[in-house]
Symmetry: C2
Subunit: 513 residues, 2 copies
């Protein structure tokens, strides 16, 4: 057994069995060791941003980390943006970053770079396993660290010589940390404050938006407390039988208008809400003036236990509201709009589907009708770095092979990691990709006005418009091996989406909105 074997054995023995990889020379020992441990599933991605986004999707759905295999500093760099998103989703991921042999680092060869510094901002743990004998123990530590709580991506740097040197130490066991429940005193204090408040809000996020926690949150709502959820949540159930808390508005002034009069905000699994961006003369903090704030459970604590105890303390009923099943009346007709797409999607959605949503300005049209569709889950863009929905869908499909995955993309966002389509084809994953092709960074046309920058003139327009030339998404998707169709009317989309839901395997739909 060499260091690479010790790494893979430790991963597999601790439940890490999916590897999203884009290897290079310094990772050849790891690649070779995969042949000796078939329990690890290698999934090749043609760009590292696909690999890291896939690992995020896997971790969100499996609650167990996947590993990535990345090629030194530049390979990690290519995956950085989706690791930024994963950090904001608190997703456990074990990044394995190959490095030069320890003795070779000093020579500053062309691919050498300061890996510990590059990885630091988006890693909750960083260590280099500089000898084969320590690889097992360091890997076990990495896995544990990825769980947090609250968890996140870790960076395990593996020098080539640590990988190729023999070791007798072998694999090591890792322990999965538990999440503490808030104390009874904390629960009582919060309950008392809620009772005393005129217009309180309980703001939930992260783990407090998972299925089991949402059921407890619904009890609070039933007890007369307004429950709201973060704007972007890593994983949240939606649809019939599911409690739908109000969502924090994206734009700050709308959020504050919605919160007007709120005199107490209680955070569960999240923290103080802030504006996504700053704008001249608009608020950064989305808590009304004079509103008290307190935390029932941090992101690291047990949100289910916290919400359940709080509901009990408030004498809430055993269950709260949930959405009815109500499908749209009939199929959409006429010009294709995000709303028409949403109507169609809600109609044909199979139970247990998983949405990966990076459809910046078109996603809302889908969300509304899906509130009362068959129950499903939604993985949102938590960190604002677009280009995640296709990669995320790879990981979700690998983690949940029996569930239909739907990847919703803006065309601007979809172009970032379009290489993901090839992996969908190669692995024949059950993913339907929808790209809303408006041939524009439409959100930026909106944001430009808000930042006080005025209307776009000729130069500015050149940086916001994607329509010259118009991307032929169907041609691109077919080129990458995915069955693809363009829909220009609601009828076409309805038929294509229905077909995609009925047949397994990767499908691509260009929604020409």
């Amino acid at each position: 057994m060499n260091g690479a074997d010790a790494l893979i054995e430790t991963l597999v023995q601790n439940g890490v069995t999916a590897c999203f990889a884009n290897p290079g020379t310094s990772e050849m020992q790891f690649v070779s060791a995969l042949d000796r441990q078939p329990a690890m599933r290698p999934v090749l991605c043609l760009f590292e941003g696909v690999a890291t986004g896939a690992a995020d999707g896997y971790g969100r759905m499996a609650d167990v980390p996947a590993c990535t295999l990345l090629h030194l500093g530049p390979g990690y760099g290519n995956g950085l943006a989706n690791l930024h998103n994963a950090r904001r989703a608190y997703t456990p991921i074990v990044n394995v970053i190959g490095d030069h042999a320890t003795y070779h680092r000093q020579y500053d060869a062309p691919l050498n770079s300061d890996i510990p510094t590059i990885v630091k901002p988006n890693s909750v743990w960083v260590k280099s396993a500089d000898s084969a004998d320590e690889v097992g123990a360091v890997t076990a530590e990495a896995i544990a660290a990825s769980y947090g709580p609250p968890g996140g991506p870790v960076s395990l740097i593996l020098p080539a010589d640590a990988a190729w040197t023999d070791t007798a130490k072998g694999a090591a066991r890792s322990t999965k940390p538990t999440r503490a429940a808030p104390s009874g005193e904390t629960v009582d204090t919060v309950a008392k404050a809620l009772k005393a408040a005129r217009k309180p809000v309980v703001l939930i996020g992260g783990r407090a938006c998972r299925a089991d926690a949402l059921r407890e949150a619904a009890r609070l709502q039933a007890a007369g407390v307004r429950v709201m959820a973060d704007t972007f949540v890593s994983r949240q159930p939606r649809g019939a039988g599911v409690f739908s808390p109000a969502r924090m508005q994206y734009f700050g002034e709308a959020a504050l208008a919605d919160l007007e009069g709120t005199d107490l905000m209680v955070y569960v699994g999240t923290a103080m809400p802030v504006a996504f961006f700053a704008y001249p003369s608009r608020p950064s903090v989305l808590v009304p003036e004079g509103c008290e704030t307190t935390t029932l459970a941090t992101r690291a604590e047990d949100a289910v236990a916290a919400l359940s105890a709080l509901a009990d303390a408030l004498g809430a009923p055993a269950s709260g509201p949930s959405n009815p099943l109500k499908l749209p009346d009939g199929s959409p007709t006429g010009p294709l709009t995000p709303q028409a797409c949403g109507q169609s999607i809600a109609r044909h959605l199979p139970e247990g589907a998983i949405f990966c949503d990076d459809a910046v300005t078109s996603g809302g049209g889908v969300a509304v009708p899906c509130m009362t569709a068959a129950p499903h889950e939604v993985l949102a863009l938590t960190g604002g770095a677009i280009g995640i929905a296709m990669p995320l869908s790879i990981g979700a499909a690998v983690a949940c092979p029996d569930r239909k995955v739907i990847s919703l993309n803006g065309d601007g966002a979809g172009m970032y990691t379009v290489q993901a389509l090839w992996t969908l084809a190669r692995e024949q994953l059950d993913v339907t990709v929808v790209v809303f092709a408006n041939h524009s960074y439409r959100i930026l046309n909106i944001e430009m006005g808000r930042t006080g920058a005025g209307n776009p003139g000729p130069s500015a327009s050149k940086l916001l418009d994607l329509g010259d030339p118009k991307i032929d998404w169907v041609s691109m998707a077919k080129g990458l091996g995915v069955d693809a169709v363009r829909c220009e009317t609601a009828e076409q989309f309805d038929a294509a989406f229905a077909r995609a839901m009925k047949t397994p395997g990767p499908k691509f739909i260009e929604a020409a909105i």
Copy 2:
């Protein structure tokens, strides 16, 4: 004038007139300010790795930095790998990285990250312009810093409020630093050592491989001194009338065999040669045992002056050897190979063409016949992070609109930044893209054996093979707006390449080798 205006005015007044951009909300003021300064050419890239690679190509050809416009930490991350390459090419680039408003940073909004840390390893200078009044001066400093010497990418962080706030300070002037020539004493010492050595080598790299320096290096060769060049050079002339120094071999043991008996190595514009990767029981340092080494000129010094003075000190003739013009006999026939492509390329190459080369295992077949083709220049992959040749070609074509640009790509490498094709189409740049489609990370099959990892088994093969599904490059290129053709025989390639050389604008050729 606001801070964004001050930034763009300072850039333009100091000769920075090309902006490769992928903006977001935090960059809207910059985008808007472009409308008020038409001298700055905005070029939209659909992924930041395209923007940074394009800036590298521009900087190598113009010897003046382009600027990039990147969206916070994740946007920079997407461009990191090609900035790693640019750092290794010592290319001046001014990265403008939009950030949250200074007062908003403290709230750790979703897109917030530690930008100074992320950018540090690949920046020769980092500063945040935290107020509108300082933007002009900081920008002038950034431009100067990008020149070095030896130069490289700089990172100018621009908070949104510094961009949108008015300022009376305006633009600032920058100074371009000069490169010092080595002292007469250094030249004399090196000349004496060269005369005393039995088998000396002068190793040139970087600036010492530019046209004017190469002419001086040829004089050394004429005086009986062996001149060698680094394996990967940022910009080097090639072809008829050009001196072709021997190249350092890629694999360490081959390099040392080539250097056997060398008792003195003199570095000009480069430093000690080292192996690209470490392998078990193979050398890291590519200097023979017992060989003396000395530096005539560092990367920061004036390589032309250094080589000229050394040639004079050695009493070298006024000019040295250069390649004859000798085109291949006839057009290639039969199955398509990299060699057949090379034969065809050499035949049809127009004078002054610019090659952007990231064709990992296929590039050699082109290089050999081009040695005696019409004179041209070659931009190589200096940092080993694949995915540069299409982005690089954008920048080279923007910098040199009257020259034909040829982008050579491995298929694995080409997929990294395939979004570049869209920008070629949008800007109608005179670039011919060739992708050598062997449907494999072929270099890794070679490297796997060298690292002692054995032959790939089923899992390992899954990470090295790109053939399932086979990428349809023509479909993809057409989808992104570029006229494309697949060539399966030498005859087809010869006809397609000849046509591409005769007609301006973007062309795509899939070479099915």
